[in-house]
Symmetry: C2
Subunit: 432 residues, 2 copies
């Protein structure tokens, strides 16, 4: 059988892992799976990496176009990241009828329809297991393993950096800044951590998951995203005292109305919730299907080899397709602009809330807050006010019963105009 | 495109679920996935079920052979169970070049090589996601999602009945018999629960997982299997006091010697272990891959719709293959008698042990036990003796340091010959 040639663009951490794993398994793939795979070309803009990978028998080059221009290369692996060069490169590879494997969540979340429509037109595949959840096979599980199900909801801890920071804050009482510093020292956070801690990275992954679960296109821009930068160590402590753990969660829920509910924000989870025990850099995806009930996947969502494991499983999947002369095995017709889904406006969501007001300690304050909440139809489930703070800035913690977000926002706007409010009010949604 | 016709033999609980799910998704499969699937025939020996499924447009029959004899049927779904009729039926279907989907763990564990070799010869596929872990896509995860990995170990809670019983015993202090009774009342245990509580069902599933993880054939008969019938409520209580939870675990471990370590038995897990929190009828599979690290799958391992979800995902997988004119997409060359793996004799395993001796309370007993263990090179990590028992039958609990099983067995044989031993000694392996 003819060799199946692969071109890799981007030989950084994940790319290096892919090369290592393929090299280790290449004989096994030939013999056990009947797949004569070979890495033909590795392109990277850093010339030092050429020497590093020269031993693997591939042509190492600075010239990514040489991968596009090699007609014998049938599979292109894009591990550059970003949405500029990567977008042009992926589209060019597809237009030359090469299959594409990518770990690029930003690219798919922001330009998925263009990429999947181009692939369909050219009758080639785009595989992207590594874009979400590192080595956890969540994409395959959604597209194949649970294909018999209507996915009713997904709740996911999908950013290891944020989960590490929140775990550190929770276990060691650190501030956000101190926990971020620790994450950076250990290599769990980038020098510029904005994309992670702002929730943007989670948002990219959730946009992809929501499109698969909703069987329609969920534009990244339509998702309400909040990060963890405003979570204070006192919020973590109060949550713990109330029996909750604070996690950054991606939430996807089907409802009876016309909207798909898709969002990323910190939540308070009951401490006994299965996702509350997912700590450090681990990720987890809790799915609910109409047939299968609840399924959890748990594993490392990032790192050289876990992510490379996902890329290599995609390479093998595509190689099986090629050896069976298949262009597209599982169509992605719904991932297109013409199938765009309506996302529930955040104002319409319903739930319980944790509110931390910072008030001047004087008579009538609690009555005023409770009254203003009540006027918007929001009732209180519990109230906590602690001694030991300066009378000028006292935290008052309120957990509400179920309320509609827009009513809560109206009430908060009125409360924050009061002269007894001394700081920004913290709002964290409670997920049961 | 030509319709893809399915024949189902066995329309009991799971079969009924498959028919319901397919009926619900059939339009979606045609439109979104381009798969014109139709159930052509349903065979069941119970004539009352014919009326039940007549509405679905399939021919309902008592005659399973009519499925084999219909040349238009390309996919046969075997949901009869057992290893007699099912074996003949599956082999006959394969020899007529029909793809087979089965949930039959006993059939594959006991006759896997014959079935997979026949399928390979006829160039058709056998899919069996529902045989292990109900709706959890563990087979697909092993064969495809983690294909880039060498699977180093699997630890799994894979029988819902046993896990329910152990959970009940642990939470409510019930005896095994009382917890089994409760499980039967709730429909979680069969009238004859032997296959479940003896560990046989777990053994069948573990044989399949071990063959996939080990990339070779693990005969069911070669696996050491113990059930939960001898677990006493005092063992559960002592375990809890020592910080452990008792679970029935399937264990698969690669080691540096010539053997694959494969076994099913009760273990004591540290209470903080991720598998210790898997309770009730839930199943979980904790895998370790050389690239991906630890991955956990968690979900309902049984029940009408979860199991049917797995069967339907297989139907769709095979239908994709058929629509692409593929006989066998992913070869299973290693699942054959010529690839049989050597399984580690239980005498050679190493680990820590919980020992519960029942002794007469008189001077020198503990010294004698400790001395005899010491003579076999087994040292004690902790000892617990309680007040409040009759002096004629006092429990003495010992946790050992790491020991080799054969040495432990030698010591126990010598200890049990002593006249101060008043009952059978309980041995439970500790898994860290």
């Amino acid at each position: 059988m003819q060799e199946i040639l692969i071109g890799i663009v981007g030989a950084g951490t994940v790319g290096g892992g892919v090369i290592k794993i393929l090299n280790k398994r290449i004989e096994n793939l030939r013999q056990e799976q009947g797949l004569p795979i070979r890495i033909a070309r590795i392109a990277d803009k850093d010339p030092r990496r050429q020497a590093q990978f020269a031993a693997y028998g591939a042509i190492c080059t600075l010239d990514a176009d040489s991968i596009l221009n090699d007609p014998a290369i049938q599979i292109v692996v894009e591990l550059v990241g970003g949405t500029t060069f990567a977008k042009e490169f992926v589209l060019a590879a597809l237009s030359r009828k090469k299959h594409v494997i990518t770990a690029n969540k930003a690219l798919l979340a922001e330009h998925g329809p263009l990429i999947f429509e181009t692939a369909a037109k050219e009758n080639v595949s785009v595989y992207f297991e590594a874009a979400v959840g590192g080595g956890m096979p969540i994409i395959k599980t959604l597209r194949e393993g649970l294909v018999a199900n209507d996915i009713l909801s997904i709740k996911t801890i999908i950013n290891g950096t944020c989960n590490y920071i929140l775990t550190k804050m929770s276990r060691e009482g650190l501030s956000f800044a101190a926990a971020l510093d620790e994450a950076q020292k250990r290599g769990y956070a980038e020098t510029d951590p904005t994309l992670d801690v702002s929730g943007g990275d989670s948002g990219h992954k959730v946009a992809i998951l929501a499109s698969l679960a909703g069987a329609g296109y969920v534009p990244f821009k339509s998702i309400s995203i909040e990060g963890i930068t405003e979570i204070g160590k006192n919020d973590i402590a109060f949550a713990s005292e109330l029996g909750y753990t604070i996690k950054l969660l991606g939430i996807i829920k089907k409802s009876n109305d016309e909207y798909l509910d898709v969002r990323v924000h910190p939540v308070m989870l009951p401490a006994r919730h299965i996702l509350a025990s997912v700590s450090d850099v681990y990720n987890a995806v809790l799915l609910e299907g109409d047939a299968v009930g609840q399924i959890l996947l748990y594993g490392k969502g990032a790192g050289e080899l876990p992510t490379a494991s996902a890329v290599v499983s995609d390479i093998i999947d595509v190689a099986h397709n090629i050896s069976c002369r298949i262009g597209v095995r599982i169509p992605m017709r719904y991932y297109s602009s013409s199938h765009e889904l309506s996302i529930k406006p955040i104002a319409l969501i319903e739930g319980r809330y944790y509110l931390r007001f910072t008030v001047q300690d004087k008579p009538g304050v609690l009555a005023s807050i409770a009254g203003l909440l009540g006027e918007e139809g929001i009732s209180l489930a519990s109230v906590m006010q602690k001694e030991g703070f300066s009378a000028k800035k006292v935290p008052v913690i309120i957990l509400t019963h179920v309320a509609i977000e827009k009513n809560l926002r109206s009430a908060l706007m009125r409360i924050e105009a009061m002269n007894y409010i001394k700081d920004h009010t913290q709002v964290i949604r409670i997920e049961e």
